[in-house]
Subunit: 140 residues, 2 copies
């Protein structure tokens, strides 16, 4: 830990526990050769993969299928100058197996907007890192 | 607008107005060849550049100086299924001009944690895009 950085590294289990309680995260990927960031609701699968639900013809599904992307969630209290941030990095895939789709339709994230032909996207939890903001953010 | 995407594109002025009211944003850059996301406090300069303050020897300052990066802020109400997300994409630079540093020390963002040798990072607002979540997120 860099003593000027003002944060504490979190372990994988601690990161996953924090993610379990977060309603919203952000998909970070590349769009037209530029970084793109999209807030989404999500949940974790039994193997800790990040699960999202989207329409089959969405830009997101086309952009991330088969690509290593990052998924970030955080909770920051701007008044108390404290909080945490977790990033999951791994390959995203659109779930195509019918049985797996059926399982996720029962147990996976709910759509905020129902649309026809929805699919699930999984992000493998290959790398799970996190930081607790010990005494603020600005010294990152 | 893709009718399956459930959002409305926001204009540049609307995006900047939303950023003005956001206490926290996220720097998105590349770290060890992987996407990295860091929450930071920030403010906008008079020319709408994003301003952050960090220690001169921070990992962030070294990682983003001279690099095109993205900066994202959002406000999402997970209960109401509504909100917005804005992304500023542009070149980041560590401010080295003493006069400019002095101006930003008076008018720029405050550190949550004071550390010696602080610097300001500017992100040029070359591309400012945003989305209002019209009826939810999951159909992105």
């Amino acid at each position: 830990m860099n003593t000027n950085d003002g944060f504490r590294e979190l372990g994988r289990e601690e990161c996953l526990r924090l993610l379990e309680g977060a309603p919203i995260g952000r998909v970070v990927h590349t769009r037209h050769a530029l970084p793109a960031v999209l807030p989404v609701n999500f949940c974790l699968d039994v193997d800790s993969a990040v699960l999202m639900r989207t329409s089959a013809d969405s830009e997101l599904a086309a952009a991330v299928d088969g690509v290593v992307i990052a998924f970030e969630a955080d909770e920051v209290d701007a008044t108390a100058h404290s909080g945490w941030s977790v990033v999951v990095t791994g390959r995203a895939t659109v779930v195509t197996d019918p049985a797996e789709h059926g399982r996720l339709a029962r147990t996976g994230p709910r759509s905020w907007v129902a649309s026809p032909g929805e699919v699930f996207i999984r992000i493998e939890p290959e790398l799970v890192t996190g930081r607790q903001l010990v005494a603020g953010l600005a010294a990152y």
